[in-house]
């Protein structure tokens, strides 16, 4: 089973006619995801993928015509905040934003607005979600994970793929994989996902992949100690990262002595989490 996305997901793709949007729509449809509509302002009335998916000018029109309940967003960073507001106002309850490079003040406005509307955002700057065998929402390659009972939550993209792949090689399956993204301000966080995995009857164990910057891993450790009965295995990237340098992800930076990998590992170990020294070690700790 799963959290957040499954075979009942009715997916809308924002930015569907762009290069990345179109490529990944094709991949999501090929995986079996129920992609019901796309939006690109100014291209309403067109169809993509040989007439499989209709394109609308606005999210509101797309939702009315298709009953979409989830949106995945490939809109470029400078227009992405507006498109997230649009999806929230049109009644979408889960918005997954793949786009990278959204200014942090824009994200603070987005996040505070969505919190008032009780709309869930995953991302931005994230690979999205994969519920193996049911739905792929975003850009996680579909062929690197099989259905199973391990929940995966990660701040990273390709590092997450490494872990999924390592699990598949030893025949371990995944309930849902959630990429929450590498930005300093995002929507869904570790604690949200840990809570959902704890409540999901089909998830037995959880893998948490963190990295330097911020204090979300420390907060997750606290949550695990207080609320999780299911075992958690973790890996934290960036032990060799120099302080004061942003390591690619806008959120991955050690500043003012906080955000260190060593502090996060210490907090997780104290909460009873097994911490892997490299990603390929994760399967053996589960």
């Amino acid at each position: 089973m799963s959290i957040l996305v499954n075979k009942n997901t009715r997916l809308l793709v924002q930015g569907i006619t762009g290069n990345e949007g179109l490529f990944h729509t094709q991949q999501m449809v090929a995986y079996g995801t129920n992609v019901v509509a796309g939006v690109t302002p100014g291209k309403g009335g067109e169809w993509v993928l040989d007439g499989k998916v209709p394109v609308f000018d606005s999210v509101k029109m797309a939702v009315e015509a298709s009953g979409a309940n989830t949106s995945v967003n490939f809109v470029p960073a400078r227009f992405a905040p507006d498109s997230i507001f649009e999806a929230a106002d049109a009644g979408i309850s889960l918005i997954v934003c793949v786009s990278e490079g959204i200014p942090v003040q824009d994200m603070m406005r987005v996040r505070n607005y969505l919190d008032q509307k009780k709309v869930r955002l995953v991302g931005p700057n994230c690979p999205g979600l994969l519920t193996p065998g049911e739905a792929k929402v975003g850009i996680i390659p579909g062929d690197i994970a099989i259905p199973g009972d391990i929940g995966v939550v990660s701040r990273s993209g390709t590092l997450t793929y490494e872990v999924l792949y390592a699990l598949m090689l030893v025949n371990r399956g995944v309930s849902t994989c959630v990429g929450i993204g590498g930005d300093p301000i995002n929507g869904t966080d570790f604690i949200d996902c840990l809570g959902m995995f704890e409540a999901d009857p089909h998830t037995e164990k959880v893998v948490l992949i963190g990295e330097i910057g911020g204090s979300d891993e420390e907060k997750a450790a606290e949550f695990i100690a207080d609320h999780m009965t299911k075992p958690v295995v973790s890996f934290i990237a960036g032990q060799t990262a120099p302080p004061g340098k942003r390591m690619g992800h806008a959120g991955a930076i050690v500043e003012g002595g906080s955000g260190l990998a060593s502090d996060k590992i210490k907090a997780l170990l104290a909460a009873g989490v097994k911490v892997a020294s490299h990603p390929e070690e994760i399967p053996s700790l589960l």
């Binding site: 942090v104 003040q105 603070m108 993209g157 390709t158 793929y161 490494e162 204090s215 032990q239 992800h249």
Partner: protein, 379 residues
């Protein structure tokens, strides 16, 4: 991106924040003229983007124009923590009664901007936050509403600011908020904000950090970037949209994705090697980007081996392989190349690279071990 003190204070002044009279000078002679114009004691302040300028002797008080010229001449030949001093700010010296800290930054944990103030100003605020957090007043700002008047008053009351200064302090708080918001800053800081002997508030020092992701809508601010703080390879990398950070080791790393790039560095270290760089070629990296990345890595003479680790998702492995081949034809690397391609179109990528005599690896650990071994064989 960091702004210099003089740039930050010029921005603050536009938003109605009182700053000392003064100008920036690139020569000692200019500094002398500015001091003559000001006709008072002046402070000569080195403009470099590191902390601890004062302790390093980069901030000096001059009693007259001649002294200003002499001190400026000294400071302009200094290196502070490896950065050359190219400019000095010549400011009218303030008679300081009291020093306050005032800053606005992003609170990641709360997902809101926060305005912070402390009556213990003029010192390193991180130290204050660490040792005596109760001395810092913090008020979170709703990013949809902006700073409210009552919040500025709460801050003033929180630091026991005498009431006669509340109105001026509130105006400064609002000015700082507007500057922070309009410039897409991640930090806008006045440290110290002083109460002068004649009972006025004055922003004696200023600092701003800007959000690189927002610079597209601030071309005027983007031009203010000081390239001294970055390695030339980092500047070159940015032109190609690559995220690159130079390190001190000898194994060059080319990886797609920031988390995986950090992990690749960590594993190299775990197996006894030292990474020469962090490099994320990004999602969907085309072959020209990959070629630029390889050139930048190989321009570092310390590099004794290159580890290419690509897990294809958006990035297609065959495209990366083509980029590598075109770059190799161009730069002709003399160090061993270890490649690991997994994911989208990996087979096609591996086939292309097999022809180019590269060391290939299946797993991350395998790749790291081979890279470390290649370096020891190559020395």
């Amino acid at each position: 991106m960091k702004l210099h003190e003089y740039q930050s204070k010029q921005i603050f002044a536009k938003y109605g924040i009182p700053i000392p009279k003064g100008r920036v000078a690139a020569t000692a002679n200019e500094a002398k003229h500015i001091a003559e114009e000001l006709g008072s004691r002046v402070v000569i302040k080195s403009q470099v983007l590191v902390g601890g300028r004062g302790k390093a002797g980069g901030i000096r008080l001059a009693k007259n124009p001649q002294e200003a010229e002499d001190l400026a001449a000294q400071i302009l030949t200094m290196d502070i923590k490896g950065l050359p001093v190219r400019k000095v700010l010549v400011d009218e010296a303030a008679n300081i009664d009291k020093e306050i800290y005032l800053g606005i930054t992003n609170d990641r944990a709360v997902r809101k901007p926060v305005i912070m103030s402390s009556a213990a100003g003029g010192v390193d605020i991180e130290e204050v936050a660490h040792l005596t957090p109760e001395k810092i007043v913090k008020v979170h700002i709703d990013p949809l509403l902006g700073l409210r008047d009552y919040q500025a008053r709460d801050v003033a009351a929180g630091i026991d600011l005498p009431r006669e200064h509340w109105r001026a302090f509130s105006q400064i708080c609002h000015g700082l908020w507007k500057a922070y918001e309009d410039c897409d800053a991640t930090l806008a800081e006045i440290n110290p904000l002083v109460i002068t002997a004649d009972n006025h508030l004055l922003a004696v020092d200023g600092k701003m950090l800007l959000d690189d992701n927002a610079l597209y809508r601030h071309p005027d601010l983007a031009e203010m970037r000081d390239l001294d703080v970055e390695a030339s390879s980092e500047i070159e990398a940015r032109k190609y949209g690559l995220s690159f950070i130079k390190l001190d080791g000898n194994i060059g790393c080319m990886v797609n994705g920031a988390g995986l790039a950090m992990t690749t560095m960590d594993i190299i270290k775990l197996y006894g090697g030292e990474p020469a760089n962090f490099l994320d070629i990004g999602g969907g990296a085309g072959s020209d980007k990959v070629a630029a990345a390889l050139r930048i890595i190989l321009s570092d003479p310390n590099v004794k081996a290159v580890l290419l680790n690509v897990f294809g998702g958006i990035t297609r492995c065959d495209e990366v392989a083509r980029g590598i081949l075109s770059a190799m034809a161009d730069v002709k690397p003399k160090v061993p190349m270890i490649t690991r391609l997994v994911g989208t179109n990996a087979e096609e990528g591996r086939r292309l690279l097999a022809e180019a005599q590269m060391i290939t690896a299946e797993t991350l650990i395998d790749a790291a071990r081979k890279a470390v071994a290649a370096v020891s064989n190559n020395q």
